[in-house]
């Protein structure tokens, strides 16, 4: 152990020996800043996705990730400035790249078993998320933050051009960030998965550690040591990535998609939530309780009198469009934003393309707006979720008006909704819906509308009275519920969905982190 430490000390010493060559400006400072900053943003995007299967996706997780990365970057810039003034040199830069590569490899190692790293359950949920995020990503963010000031320092040799040099290197760093964001979001995660992406970052940084070393050309001991260390870490990184056992059948641009099978029923989960149950014998059979509520409301309203045309906001397991096609000779337009979810439904959940189901791989709101003007629906089904939250642009008064304009005069708008704790979101949602539709009914979902952190409901809205079912919540009860607390009118200008659902996210995080089994709900 001591000999390793001594060797490392000697390596640092050799690599950081001040020497004219060491102070030579980098050949392509912009390229180094570009790749370094790009790596940080790749890590940032991957970070949110790495913690999603454990912690879900909410205001808390994304804020933690952004906060930790920016805080690390900020601290890193400050430290990097001091390092740059204290010991400007390409060898310093090389060591900082090496350390960043090691820190990224470490994050990869830690991400293999997130459960084992959880903070004490007595901590508040926000702190627990912050703890896990910081544990993995604070160190690489700090180290990557130290790099730009050192590059700037190496490139500055006159006060006259400081603005230009700083601006140019900063611009290169920012361009690297852009490429990092786009590449990771659109391409890298869905092609390779989150862990190989982090491994790739570590490898890129290790390569920069070797490339930036000024002694490399003459094969001094310092350069050889840095190269050796980089090679060892690189091997370790590749090993980690190769042995990772992913819980997802597919990591799409949006979710970790999971499929499990339980006595003839396939269960589709997206991140932490169960989004659908599909019977292998009859994929058109609603099994999920909220879909059974949809079924009973639609049967009570229309019976089998005529073929139904419908629009589904979100496809998921595609159970309900298949049900409508089979039992109501229906035609459905389904807006499912995640192409991979649709592909998994085709490959594993028995979804067969038929003229009865039009699948459009886009966001539901522009799709609904741009449908041919004469196309009207008997039923519009709300079934889109980002974690447990309905995306905010699908709950506003303006969107409700759009839905109303697309419904036949007696048409039904049925929405699956998740809320809990003080039910402020559900209350505000119904309050807003009532501004557009004269009749709004709340249906309980058997077994899932009880207390606890999160409960599932179905809300129905129409211009005509809605049918009662066994689980209708009576108007008097509904009015009392609405009057209990303040309801916010949700508009495109002001739609604080995450904040209204914050108590539910917090409670659920607390339960999942303390090991309490949670029941998934969603669609």
């Amino acid at each position: 152990m001591t000999s390793v430490a001594r060797r490392l000390g000697r390596a640092i010493d050799a690599a950081t020996r001040q020497d004219d060559r060491d102070l030579r400006p980098l050949r392509f400072p912009g390229a180094f800043a570009f790749v370094g900053s790009g790596c940080l943003l790749v890590l940032e995007i991957a970070a949110g996705r790495i913690i999603a299967p454990n912690l879900g996706v909410s205001l808390y997780t994304w804020t933690s990730v952004i906060g930790v990365v920016l805080a690390g970057l900020s601290l890193g810039n400050w430290i990097g400035g001091r390092i740059a003034d204290w010991r400007p040199g390409r060898s310093t830069l090389s060591l900082l790249y090496l350390a960043s590569g090691v820190a990224s490899a470490l994050a990869l190692a830690l991400s293999k078993n997130l459960d084992a790293l959880a903070a004490p359950t007595t901590w508040s949920a926000e702190l627990q998320v912050l703890w896990l995020t910081a544990l993995l990503f604070l160190l690489p963010s700090i180290l990557l933050g130290t790099i730009t000031p050192v590059i700037v320092k190496l490139s500055l040799n006159s006060l006259d051009v400081t603005g230009r040099v700083v601006g140019r290197i900063q611009a290169a760093a920012t361009l690297g960030s852009i490429v990092g964001v786009f590449a990771t979001g659109f391409l890298l995660i869905s092609t390779f998965g989150t862990r190989p992406v982090v491994a790739g970052v570590a490898l890129a940084l290790l390569a920069l550690a070797i490339l930036s070393n000024p002694f490399w050309e003459r094969q001094s001991p310092g350069a050889v040591n840095v190269a050796l260390a980089a090679a060892v870490v690189a091997l370790f990184t590749v090993g980690l990535a190769a042995t990772y056992d992913s819980p997802c059948v597919k990591e799409s641009n949006y979710y970790c998609i999971g499929i499990e099978e339980d006595s003839g029923v396939k269960i589709l989960s997206l991140d932490t939530l169960i989004h659908g149950y599909v019977s292998l014998q009859n994929p058109a059979q609603p099994i999920y309780p909220y879909e059974k509520v949809y079924e009973s409301v639609i049967n009570a309203k229309y019976g089998k009198s005529r073929p139904l045309s419908s629009f589904s906001i979100g496809g998921g397991a595609f159970t309900f469009p298949r049900y409508l096609a089979r039992y109501h000779h229906g035609h459905s337009v389904v807006a499912e934003i995640d192409k991979e979810v649709t592909d998994v439904a085709r490959e594993q959940l028995g979804l067969v393309d038929t003229p009865a189901i039009d699948i459009i791989e886009k966001d539901a709101r522009p799709v609904l707006r741009d449908r041919p003007k004469g196309e009207k629906y008997d039923v519009v089904l709300g079934d889109a979720f980002g974690d447990i939250a309905i995306p905010y642009h699908l709950v506003t008064r303006e969107f409700n008006e759009l839905v109303a304009s697309r419904l036949r005069p007696d048409g039904l708008y049925l929405i699956n909704i998740v809320d809990g704790v003080n039910y402020d979101f559900l209350r505000s949602y119904i309050h807003t819906l009532r501004m557009t539709f004269p009749y709004v009914v709340l249906y309980g979902v058997p077994g899932e509308s009880g207390g606890g952190a999160q409960a599932t409901f179905v809300v129905g809205a129409s211009r005509l009275p809605l049918p009662n079912t066994a689980t209708t919540i009576q108007p008097a009860q509904l009015n009392a519920f609405l009057a209990q607390r303040h309801a916010t009118t949700l508009t495109d200008d002001h739609v604080p969905v995450d904040q209204l659902l914050a108590p539910v996210f917090r409670q659920r995080l607390h339960e999942s982190l303390s090991g309490t089994e949670q029941t998934g709900a969603g669609g």
């Binding site: 920016l70 990097g80 400035g81 740059a84 000031p149 500055l156 979001g185 522009p366 995450d498 904040q499």
Partner: protein
């Protein structure tokens, strides 16, 4: 005494008083960058009714804002070397305020400036995001290089000064993200938040203008004169 024109617009001969370091450069970097991140976070809300919320919208927003900062940093660096001046910094803040206010104008007419329906989704999103958010990002991006330039007085400490101002700017970014995510979106509407950003930038532009330093200097000089005369 005629008021020197460089106080308001950088015309004519540069005046050494105009390139004096800012009193609190970190505060200016903090608030300027904070404003940009506030805009970035509400951008998703501004665009959602027209183009929805998807990976495309968020990526386009992040990409357009970063591209704006990037180009802005580059242009800002050139401007700073060409003429390091507080009057220019003041102008940069005021223009940024104007560009942020433009977001409000676009917000009321988004559907009418949307790209043709025939374009692929991604280009529709990128088009609209660029139209609305590129200019404010670019202009705010030009600010930090000028602040750094004004603060740099010796080559010995470049690392420290650049590091400190960058750190302040990034702290501002963090504050902007957290404040918007946890407080502003809940408490206020999108339009009010954008208005507040424009006002903050305008105030920074006014405070950063060297006219105050000159006025104070004059007041101090005349005060000294009058006490000296007693």
């Amino acid at each position: 005494m005629a008021r020197p024109r460089w106080l308001i617009l950088p015309i004519g001969e540069p005046d050494p008083r105009d390139s004096r370091p800012l009193r609190f450069p970190g505060v200016f970097a903090f608030l300027g960058n904070g404003c940009l991140l506030v805009l970035e976070l509400v951008a998703g809300r501004v665009l959602a009714p027209t183009v929805g919320v998807s990976l495309y919208t968020w990526t386009a927003v992040i990409g357009v804002v970063l591209a704006g900062i990037s180009l802005g940093s580059w242009i800002g660096g050139k401007i700073a070397d060409w003429r390091p001046a507080r009057s220019i910094l003041s102008l940069q803040f005021l223009l940024s305020a104007g560009a942020s206010a433009l977001v409000l104008v676009f917000d009321s007419n988004l559907d009418s400036v949307a790209a043709p329906f025939s374009w692929p989704t991604i280009w529709q999103v990128v088009w609209l995001t660029t139209l609305v958010f590129f200019l404010p990002s670019l202009l705010i991006g030009t600010i930090t290089p000028m602040i750094i330039k004004l603060a740099l007085t010796s080559l010995e400490v470049t690392g420290r000064v650049v590091g400190r101002i960058r750190a302040a700017a990034e702290l501002g970014a963090i504050a902007g993200v957290f404040l918007t995510g946890f407080v502003l979106i809940q408490a206020f509407g999108t339009r009010s938040i954008v208005t507040a950003v424009a006002i903050t930038l305008a105030v920074l532009g006014i405070i950063g203008n060297p006219v105050w330093g000159v006025a104070l200097g004059r007041a101090r000089a005349s005060a000294e004169q009058s006490t000296g005369g007693d």
